[in-house]
Symmetry: C2
Subunit: 400 residues, 2 copies
């Protein structure tokens, strides 16, 4: 437990004010004081510091309510910039954004596999360096680099503990980047970064307890509890792709049987489809060897009722798993993402129906289930949000 101190008290109040301006700006000092229980002088002096730090700026005058017009405060979106890196299994996606998350520039780089840990870190530094030098006019105003890394990540130490697709272990990513750049560096698991992206830029804004589930080649989730990312004891909280949902189910890549992944992931949809084709189902899908989940989606779009049935079935399985999540973590919101969710028009009705049918209490039926609207650079935006957490929520007391 962190002890109470003057410094801590001040930075807490600064964070509160900053977060208020971010979420509800333009807002006046007086309004902040009313909402936060802080006194006007306290708000005034802390706002002054924030303006000196250039995170906050005064904007227009508000309308008078019978007296002096309030001076509205807003975040100075263009005062600082951040780099977000989505380090996936086969490529690296980089973005440069302002404090509002507006993407100024982006770049993609392929990884040449196989790769050693040294090569990986060198390439990471290299592509980041390129992003900085390509946009020199921002470089003095960059405050941090966020990295969303696939696999198991120790976010405290900024280390990649295990990246299965690269087959690399124990890479000190934060250390490597910190040695090369003067910016703050934060590293997080990609699924968790995605969840953070939703809370900062997506539909998760203002929700304290949410789960962002990614359904693609694999299935993973980021869990936000009481406003903070939740890691668990050994950084595997949210590895729900490997939640057993069918005791007698198909074998999973992890070696177990009946993992959730084995019924809802992209590859599993393809596998199930092939199985049915073999059994002689009536369908327009004929290519037994190369059929993918996307093919199934396209066939469904073209009116193939068999393909539609496959997707409906998948939606049911997703719904069952999400109900398990609701009965365990009981979030206020679940946001779905990933390739499989491209078929959301087929999936969502049955997902919602399944949850409504299976959930235990009436109140839990109201759990919001939506599809992410963040788009292409969602994970990289989550990486950027890692920096925003430090800037806004953590303490507001950074040297800038």
């Amino acid at each position: 437990m962190q002890r109470g101190s003057f410094k801590g008290m001040k930075s807490l109040n600064k964070s509160i004010i900053l977060t208020k301006i971010l979420n509800e700006g333009p807002i006046s000092r007086a309004q902040i004081a009313k909402d936060t229980q802080l006194t006007p002088p306290t708000v005034g002096s802390l706002v002054k510091e924030l303006i000196d730090q250039r995170i906050v700026k005064e904007s227009t005058q508000g309308t008078s309510k019978g007296g002096r017009k309030p001076t509205m405060l807003v975040i100075d979106q263009q005062a600082y910039y951040m780099i977000g890196i989505d380090a996936g299994p086969s490529q690296i996606d980089l973005i440069l954004t302002d404090l509002s998350g507006k993407i100024i520039a982006n770049a993609q780089h392929q990884l040449l596999l196989p790769i050693t840990d040294k090569q990986f870190l060198t390439q990471l530094i290299h592509v980041t360096e390129a992003m900085v030098t390509d946009h020199v006019k921002y470089s003095d105003h960059i405050i941090g680099i966020g990295v969303a890394m696939h696999g198991v990540v120790d976010a405290n130490e900024g280390e990649s503990l295990y990246a299965p697709n690269l087959n690399l272990r124990d890479m000190p990513i934060a250390e490597a980047l910190s040695n090369h750049f003067s910016y703050m560096v934060k590293v997080e698991n990609d699924a968790r970064a995605l969840a953070l992206a939703e809370t900062w830029f997506g539909q998760g804004k203002g929700y304290d307890r949410l789960v962002a589930v990614n359904i693609g080649t694999g299935v993973g989730a980021g869990v936000v509890i009481e406003g903070d990312l939740y890691h668990g004891e050994t950084f595997i909280a949210g590895e729900i792709g490997h939640m057993t949902i069918d005791l007698n189910g198909a074998r999973c890549s992890c070696g177990n049987y009946g993992c959730w992944q084995t019924v809802i992931s992209g590859p599993s949809i393809a596998t199930r489809t092939k199985q049915f084709i073999k059994e002689g189902m009536d369908t327009s899908l004929t290519d037994l060897t190369d059929v993918t989940a996307f093919d199934v989606f396209e066939a469904a779009e073209a009116g193939d009722t068999f393909a539609q049935k496959i997707l409906t079935e998948t939606g049911y399985y997703i719904g069952v798993g999400l109900t398990n999540l609701i009965h365990t973590i009981n979030p206020s919101q679940i946001i779905l993402n990933g390739g499989v969710m491209k078929a959301n028009t087929y999936l969502m009705p049955i997902i919602k129906e399944t949850i409504a049918e299976r959930v235990l209490t009436r109140a839990a039926k109201d759990t919001l289930v939506t599809v992410s609207e963040l788009g292409d650079h969602a994970t990289a935006l989550g990486a950027v949000a890692l920096i925003l957490v430090e800037l806004f929520a953590k303490n507001g007391e950074l040297e800038l």
Copy 2:
């Protein structure tokens, strides 16, 4: 977010000191200062207040390490007393304890069913009143009443939202007791209270992330995250008895199929046993109609290999479900409780084996899985712990 203030800073520091003394006492002021980063004068003055409040007292002198002997501080266990109430589906268990959780007195009362909400509240007040008057010499020193209520509970409002076995809804328990007694009143769901009991008095001491799973007639869990009880959005976090684990499994009381409960609860063990007996298994168990999980346990103890096999199978199912928990919540510790765990000698080896085999990462294999050692009044102790949370962790700034 709560604003920073002098009061808040002080009470936070007081809590830190108090918790330190609780967990590591007898301990000296100097040692507290070293461990907590607080300065000696701060520790000194706050300890003085705690001594004035009679929560803390000076005990023996410690041994000198080359200088003045330290004065050791301990919690004054007998300064205050608490009442813990376990309000189960058919009976009420009350205990009176000191601050260490030592049980001074206990009483059990049957509920006469069916019962109305008014009758229930009246009986609750009545039995509590009896406990107080039967032990008058403690009554002036009682600081609070904790209630562990089965069913869905709104812990913030102190309301029982739904008690399925009594078929009662929306009972204002805290309000009713507060109107009758001058003590602080806290209400919580029973499974969560049990988890709290483990963190305060059981094997969960010092663990920040733990799940206490109760396997009996039903299956439920209390989740502790970052040291706090976790409720979820609508107070159903931890309702893992209804986690679907077998897509094509047996029908559950909740209406779904293949809930975890349907393979590990006491009744499910009996049902499965009957099924096998029908199929002509070789066993000493013959009474097809009335066989219970306890009979299976006894048969196993007597050497019946069929009964042992049933239990082993049950252990496997428990292990699978716990692995799901690890992949979702990733706690440092799981503590098992409830009637079924009486067969722990048969269950535990296979539970641990199953988890070790199925869990994704090496680090997660170290998740501690143990059987509760709290004994009979475990849930009532959890109710008592609700009061301790207020006293120790919440703010240390109560009027005493």
